[in-house]
Point group: C2
């Protein structure tokens, strides 16, 4: 059996699966302190200790995902109280003397979609999650891209829409992609949650323009087989279609792409892709 841990800023999910990725057991807990949260995860996993062959972890970041680093698995500077410098690898390794693979939550989701959600002819993807923040990952031929560590694509530079007076919510960059298009950026700008905003509200044209720019930039950077947009904000009806329209308008026929409804798409396993990705990473980590 294999274990997966998806550690998010508000909740942590852990799952146990068999060799065919059937989920045997699952737990979902709130993210409180590291010791409390990972104490509960430990208790959950201990029941399967003798059967576990490997653990895959996808965590919020920034986190050290370089296996050769002395601080592998360590959460770096995070505004999340108590979590800076907490080392997930060391914590798990105390109780589980098996292979433990650590990556970012976005990388894990991207890997899940890559491994289970793509049609056979596709060998590369960009995966965006648009929610509390905006994260993205790129996978090519099974390899998660990131030189020194996982990417931070959510903070890419984009052009502000002419009808958008919002100054941007990113504490670092103001109007970067995340500062303009994340869930908090929407609610700060409009004083209501995106989910409460009518699907025909003209704001969605602005949001789709920002995500269309993100799609364009990542297309030009990686030339992927497809771009997947997941996360809470993407639940809005009609948004993916609007992103496609904006992408097409911005590209101005410069690059040829697959039909847009096959190129800019929603995740196949939204909400489960990170756990699936962690399980796949765990299984592959021991060469299976």
């Amino acid at each position: 059996m294999f274990a997966a841990i998806e550690a998010g800023g508000t909740k942590i999910i852990s799952a146990i699966a068999d060799e065919e990725f059937n989920i045997i057991d699952k737990i979902k807990i709130p993210t409180t302190s590291p010791s409390e949260s990972f104490g509960l995860i430990r208790d959950f996993l201990m029941a399967y200790k003798d059967k576990l062959k490997a653990i895959g972890v996808g965590s919020f970041g920034p986190i050290d995902i370089d296996e050769k680093s002395r601080t592998y698995g360590q959460i770096l500077n995070t505004p999340k109280k108590g979590w800076s410098n907490f080392n997930i690898y060391n914590q798990l390794n105390k109780d589980f003397d098996i292979k433990i693979t650590i990556t970012s939550d976005v990388n894990a989701s991207a890997y899940g979609e890559y491994a289970f959600g793509l049609s056979e002819d596709k060998k590369s993807l960009v995966y965006f999650t648009v929610g509390t923040g905006i994260g993205a990952a790129y996978i090519q031929d099974g390899l998660l891209i990131g030189g020194r560590s996982h990417p931070e694509m959510g903070h890419m530079i984009i052009n502000k829409h002419q009808d958008d007076g919002f100054k941007g919510s990113c504490p670092y960059h103001g109007p970067c992609l995340e500062g303009l298009g994340s869930g908090p950026a929407i609610s700060q700008r409009l004083n209501k949650l995106g989910e409460d905003l009518d699907k025909d509200d003209k704001f969605w044209d602005i949001e789709a323009n920002y995500l269309g720019q993100a799609a364009l930039n990542t297309s030009y950077m990686f030339n992927p087989d497809c771009i997947i947009f997941g996360g809470g904000v993407m639940a809005k009806e009609g948004l993916i279609e609007k992103i496609r329209e904006n992408f097409e308008r911005l590209n101005k026929s410069y690059m040829d792409f697959a039909p847009l409804d096959e190129f800019i798409i929603k995740p196949k396993y939204d909400g489960q892709s990170a756990i699936l990705g962690c399980l796949k990473l765990a299984k592959e980590s021991i060469g299976e």
Copy 2:
């Protein structure tokens, strides 16, 4: 021996080298028609036909670099008269029944710098060439990144500088990176060549802002060990330092980086990196 061909929009260089990458012979010809230009290249290479083990090609593009494609080595739609649909692989394969590897000119340069120019601790790089156009490539652990084909990073979206009234020279996107920061963009804007512009002209702050944005976006996308800026425009004294300043200001301490004079750097083999990259690709293509 190995052969390299660097096919640019204005000139084509070919070189013969031994197993240790010592250049034995070299030719440089103007890029005229495909038949004329590659006729001269053929004549040059024929003198070494019996000794050649493999050929590496870095060509202007867009070009099909997918080895599994039926049109591998074919130049796609290009404004360069007579070159659209010319297939470099087929052309060379008529006379040389050895392994022929085709990539883009920017990929080849990046590969040359990666293979010969990096310090041992660096395993990934972004390579920009800023000249007639702006091209870029990313290499991680020896792998040239690009899903469907080579990237087109020169056309990424950036923010226009508040003091820049130029509408952009890119026929597709207007003010994309290439439309704002390439050599032609400079000369169209200022009615003089960049090389004739004083190094203290305030325009260089604008140029450095654009290239700083490009460095920032690619840092967030790829998280590379270093970013290299080469090409004709980069010959301007002081420009690399100004790019570092802009990068630092735009990053706002969001990501940690190596000391900037080791992170944003100039090529070690400027002007030769593409030929070196082609030779390295040729040698590796036959497993040597």
